[in-house]
């Protein structure tokens, strides 16, 4: 019997047995499933019996076993990172904003310097350490010496101080990641590694000149800002603070492995032997870090601190060529000179090291340029080998403009950089050929990402022609989509080839000969698309080839066949299909059923024509693995891509020896592009993108470029006259994460901005001027302005859990009004009272005076989000008659009690209309958000605004009712080219 059917039977028997009294269950079961009727499944009865027994245990036991496990794990997760100081707490003139982590020094917090209004990193010394007076003295002396260092690559120390028993250091707060995280997150190019190394060496040179030794150079002590600037942390400090642990560690290596290995691994031989150390110690540690950046491995490894130390003392580092076939000899020489065991043989000063590193970089750059111009000439010779392109004239034009740019490179370096991507398009084929002759297996490439459209409204799918010269994409204006053709190398060469129509394009593909565009259009669902074929340059009508296909198609390399998917929802089947390029002779290659799924919508035919890459996976839990399907036999071979938690798009590399995929390792990570070699399945990251989403990928088979659609989200506050929202004015710029705008009586706006641990309230004059931040401690939001414009009442998390606070309109005199778990305030029109919601699991509405005092409960049933009416006689709120059903809007007297009236909930963000006769809210219709009003007398809702396209998130009417402020969220998406990921 099939697994699924068997399980269904087990479950049915289980429930049927449960319906009977416990004493009769076994007997009933024996009768219901006599062993002989299931000859192959004698276990059925015992299976059900064991489940029934387990059920009884569940019922009888006071402890819910799995719940207990989950709770323990949660507790453990939280206690693994206990914080000494709480958000909002003060240390000297620093106010803690959030806990950042635990460093070599002890705990590190993000804090605000309340005197200077800037963010700082606050490092607390471990208490054990601060009790040793001699250590404290040494620590302070070193820290003070380090604080005198003034170098761009050394973190600035603002203050070294003591408050009570707590010794702490306030330093510059660096937004970025440690080199350790950086190494884990991306494969850096040799050039990037050199740039980082140069900055570290430069910092060391400056410090050594000033007579300061770092003592603990390791990836955890090197920060990298998003702009690439490197900062070295904790000069002369970290080691002092850690010494105590280390001594303990070396004495008892077998009991505490792991913890200290990281530090021991970066010691110099003289340090490991306990000898006195000098500046050359840092040079050795630098060498280890440099080696690790280049190869991804430490030169001296060990399971325990002792093993590491023993390796440092006696082993020679494995030659880098074993891991990197193409490491430049110069770099290998530098590494080896930093890692000499005898310090007399090492670089004697960081300055010498720095000079050699800079020289190595210059050589590398020269080599790169030379290589590129050589490749260019090969391209000119090989263009004849390219497959036919739409017009020969255009191709020649692209080649010659590329040639022109190369000659310019010699004189204009900046131009060279900005044009590099365009160049790649012209010369990509050449590079690929060139590298075939001289294979380079190292991951060091400089990846370039260039945006080549600027409409911000590009639809989800794109395709590049095989030679990488033509791009097809769509533009979605909110209602209709049009199809555009662009010559990749030529700016402003966009031609509309299909006029706007209310359709959704789900796939584009050029035929390999470049003459036809194949596209699919969604018919109600992505799993039901129709495939059309049209000449790329027009001159003929579109021909319908197939219907009922899932997403897009992919061509066989000879252009004679296509592959596509079919989703059979009724039978829960997914199929991978193959057909002739004209849609005839369809045949089924693979069919998967039930929880197993084949992601056939993005099948990609291999360059050798023998297989098709697809994903296969299960729906619950969600798993996705890349697999190849043999075209001859339909056999599925899974690739080891399970290291990725999410898995999106893929393309074969032109030589069939790997893939480019879009994936992320953990949900918290962003998507990145990866190279996966095939069949060896090694993965290597090629981009390290921060904030964008990619929705499509097309790789030019004959070039080193891929096109993708990149989208990002921003939100901003806008204002418009009520009744004419067609020409709104933008108030906040370029930012995102803003919301909840509220008018002041004099026509200014307060709003909140931020995410996570820093959300703050701002004030801005929409008639001009820059925003002023009113709060600066932890999370503050939901600002409401008092009718006289004197106060802002808001929700603040500064005391830990949310409570209602009040401050003056300029941010001064904050005063806590409630101590309950309370949020979402609304001020009465006479300015005397504040109503708000209380609770997490049960939600009730309370009120308190504007100056605080004893709170009073107003509702005794599930209710939240109260909003005072303009006359102050009642308030509107969300109201649940039945806690498991959706809520309604209720009108409740200002004195509390039961609703006098309820309405069904229409939309969101409801506010009173200024006249008090209707409630306004925003709701979405046909993909567009607009503001509506619902008259209290029960009339039909009326549309107040006429927005098109962008989403509204929150809104507020001005006091005179003439203007409206709203938050608008925009998605922008454009085509970007990624190049240089492969040589």
């Amino acid at each position: 019997m099939q697994d699924a059917a068997r399980w269904q039977l087990i479950e049915d028997l289980f429930h049927a047995a449960l319906a009977r009294p416990p004493a009769q269950r076994a007997a009933w079961l024996a009768e219901a499933c006599p062993p002989d009727s299931y000859p192959k499944d004698a276990d059925l009865q015992s299976e059900v019996l064991s489940l029934l027994a387990a059920h009884e245990q569940v019922e009888e036991s006071a402890l819910d076993f799995p719940a207990q496990l989950v709770q323990q794990a949660t507790q453990q997760l939280v206690t693994a990172t206990p914080a000494t100081l709480q958000s909002g707490q003060r240390l000297s003139h620093y106010q803690i904003i959030s806990w950042l982590g635990r460093g070599g020094m002890g705990e590190v917090y993000l804090a605000e310097d309340t005197r200077l209004g800037r963010h700082v990193a606050l490092k607390l010394l471990p208490t054990a350490f601060s009790q040793d007076a001699e250590r404290v003295r040494r620590f302070e002396r070193e820290a003070r010496a380090a604080s005198a260092l003034n170098h761009p690559n050394i973190i600035t120390i603002h203050e070294i101080s003591t408050e009570g028993d707590t010794h702490f250091i306030a330093t510059e707060y660096i937004e970025g990641e440690t080199l350790r995280a950086h190494l884990a997150n991306q494969a850096a190019s040799i050039k990037t590694v050199l740039e980082i190394a140069i900055q570290i060496a430069s910092a060391l040179a400056a410090a050594h000149t000033a007579g300061i030794i770092h003592r603990d150079i390791k990836p955890e002590n090197v920060m990298i800002r998003p702009d690439g600037l490197v900062k070295i942390l904790d000069f002369g400090i970290a080691k002092l603070a850690e010494m105590r642990n280390e001594e303990a560690e070396i004495a008892r290596p077998s009991t505490l492995p792991g913890m200290i290995v990281g530090t021991a691994s970066y010691m110099s031989p003289e340090q490991a032997q306990g000898k006195t150390i000098d500046a050359r110690n840092d040079i050795f540690s630098f060498g280890i870090v440099f080696y690790e950046m280049l190869t991804g491995r430490r030169p001296f490894a060990g399971e325990t601190a002792l093993e590491s130390i023993s390796s440092i003392l006696k082993d020679e580092p494995p030659p880098m060529r074993q891991m990197l076939s193409a490491v430049p000899g110069e770099i290998e020489r530098i590494v080896s000179k930093t890692l000499r065991k005898d310090r007399e043989e090492r670089y004697q000063t960081a300055q010498d090291l720095l000079l050699d590193l800079k020289e190595a970089k210059r050589e590398l750059e020269f080599h790169d340029q030379w290589e590129r111009s050589t490749v260019q000439h090969q391209d000119a010779a090989e263009t004849k080998l390219l497959p036919a392109t739409p017009t020969n004239e255009n191709r020649n034009q692209a080649t010659s403009s590329a040639e022109y740019l190369v000659t310019q490179v010699k004189t204009h370096k900046f131009l060279y950089l900005t044009c590099a991507v365009l160049l790649m398009v012209g010369i990509g084929f050449g590079i690929y050929r060139y590298s075939d002759k001289a294979p380079i297996n190292n991951p060091f490439e400089s990846v370039k990402i260039t945006k080549i459209t600027d409409s911000g409204k590009v639809g989800e799918v794109v395709a590049l022609s095989r030679d990488g010269k033509w791009l097809v994409y769509s533009i979605w204006d909110g209602e209709k989509a049009s199809v555009w053709l662009k010559q990749v190398a030529i700016p402003d060469s966009n031609t509309q080839i299909v006029p706007p129509a209310p359709v959704k394009y789900r796939g584009f593909a050029f035929s390999p000969d470049g003459n036809y565009l194949y596209y699919t259009i969604e018919e109600g669902a992505i799993s039901n698309c129709t495939l059309y074929q049209m000449p790329v340059l027009g001159g003929g009508t579109a021909r319908k080839l197939l219907s009922g296909i899932n997403g897009g198609i992919s061509f066989s390399p000879d252009g004679k066949q296509i592959t596509y998917g079919v989703e059979n929802l009724a039978d829960d089947e997914s199929l991978l299909m193959v057909a002739n390029a004209d849609g005839t002779e369809q045949r089924r290659l693979v069919m998967l059923k039930g929880n197993e799924e084949i992601g056939s919508s993005r099948g990609r035919w291999s360059p050798d024509g023998k297989s098709i890459a697809v994903f296969v996976g299960t729906n619950n839990p969600l798993t996705r693995e890349l697999a190849t399907v043999s075209v001859a036999t339909g056999e599925i071979t899974r690739l080891a891509t399970h290291k990725f938690s999410e898995f999106g798009l893929w393309e074969w590399l032109p030589d069939g020896k790997g893939f480019v995929v879009l994936a992320r390792e953990k949900p918290a990570h962003n998507n990145s592009f990866w190279l996966i070699s095939y069949p060896s399945e090694e993965a290597q990251k090629i981009t390290n993108d921060l904030n964008n989403i990619y929705s499509s990928m097309s790789l030019a088979a004959d070039a080193d470029i891929l096109a993708t659609v990149q989208s990002s989200v921003t939100s901003n506050i806008w204002i418009a006259p009520v009744g004419d929202a067609t020409r709104p004015t933008q108030v906040t710029a370029g930012s995102n994460q803003v919301g909840d705008p509220q008018w002041t009586p004099d026509g200014k706006l307060v709003y909140n901005r931020g995410l996570g641990d820093s959300q703050d309230i701002y004030l801005i004059d929409p008639r001009g001027g820059s925003p002023k931040r009113l709060t600066s401690n932890y999370i503050n939001r939901s600002p409401r302005v008092s009718p006289d414009g004197r106060y802002v009442v808001y929700t603040s998390f500064q005391a830990g859990s949310p409570s209602i606070w009040r401050m003056d309109i300029d941010g001064s005199n904050p005063k806590q009004l409630t101590t309950q778990f309370s949020l979402n305030p609304s001020i009465s029109p006479n300015g005397q009272e504040v109503i708000y919601e209380v609770g997490v699991d049960t939600l009730r509405i309370w009120k308190v005076g504007i100056d605080g005092g004893q709170p009073v409960q107003l509702t005794d049933q599930e209710s939240r989000l109260p909003v005072f009416s303009p006359d102050g006689k009642q308030f509107a709120c969300l109201w649940w008659d039945d806690p498991s059903a959706p809520p309604k809007i209720a009108l409740i007297p200002a004195t509390g009690g039961k609703p006098v009236k309820t309405f069904p909930l229409q939309g969101q963000g409801y506010r009173w209309m200024p006249d008090g006769r209707a409630l306004a809210y925003f709701a979405r219709q046909d993909g567009v958000d607009n503001i509506w009003s619902q008259p209290l007398d029960g009339g039909t809702p009326k549309q107040l605004t006429n927005f098109i396209g962008d989403g509204i998130v929150s809104f507020d009417f001005s006091r005179d009712g003439k203007q409206i402020a709203f938050t608008r969220m925009t998605n922008t998406s454009d085509v970007v080219l990624i190049s240089g990921f492969r040589k």
Binding site: H55, P66, W99, L823, V840, V953
Partner: protein
């Protein structure tokens, strides 16, 4: 924050790009909360993942009257992410303890759970994966109930099935898990 509201709405309308944006935001928030959660007032409380999920909801969405469906949807998403966070964390801890080596889950005896929450959780996760292969919806129900703290009614709302179905499946799933974990 406004962003989160809108992303949630878009997601509820079937916009998968919105979910892409939303997931890392919620994951990060939950992780960050776990890092700084231990405040004075909660120090000695028993901490359920529900508390983190609720806190994340309040911090990310509490100000906006997000539609009811979106609210349960958020909890549904947070439940999944909470499970991943706990599993990721347990893996990290095991890796740390073993000096970076692979950890094999050969231990599934009940009394081990008390000693090592990491192994207990990884065993539970493994059992849930097995359950998912047999009965995907059962696994989802367990996830929503245990990791998201959803009630039967909320679970039914997220899954779009009836109250009775959830109760019935929940009953079976718990018995199955109990048997699996005490083997």
């Amino acid at each position: 924050m406004a962003e989160v509201t809108q992303l949630l709405l878009r997601w509820s309308e079937g916009d998968q790009v919105a979910l892409e944006h939303l997931m890392p935001l919620v994951y990060d928030e939950l992780r960050r909360l776990a890092g700084g959660f231990l405040r004075h007032d909660r120090l000695h409380q028993t901490l359920q993942p529900t508390a983190l999920v609720h806190e994340a909801y309040l911090r990310m969405l509490g100000q906006a009257d997000v539609a009811w469906q979106s609210r349960t949807q958020f909890f549904g998403l947070a439940a999944t992410l909470m499970r991943r966070i706990l599993v990721d964390h347990a893996r990290e801890r095991c890796a740390e303890k073993r000096g970076g080596g692979q950890f094999h889950l050969s231990l599934s005896h009940a009394d081990l759970f008390a000693r090592s929450p990491e192994i207990g959780l990884l065993t539970l996760d493994e059992a849930l994966q097995t359950l998912a292969a047999i009965k995907p919806q059962h696994c989802r129900i367990v996830e929503l109930r245990y990791f998201g703290g959803l009630t039967i009614a909320e679970t039914a709302e997220v899954l779009g099935v009836s109250h009775a179905t959830v109760e019935r499946d929940w009953q079976f799933a718990r018995a199955w898990l109990r048997r699996e974990l005490s083997q």
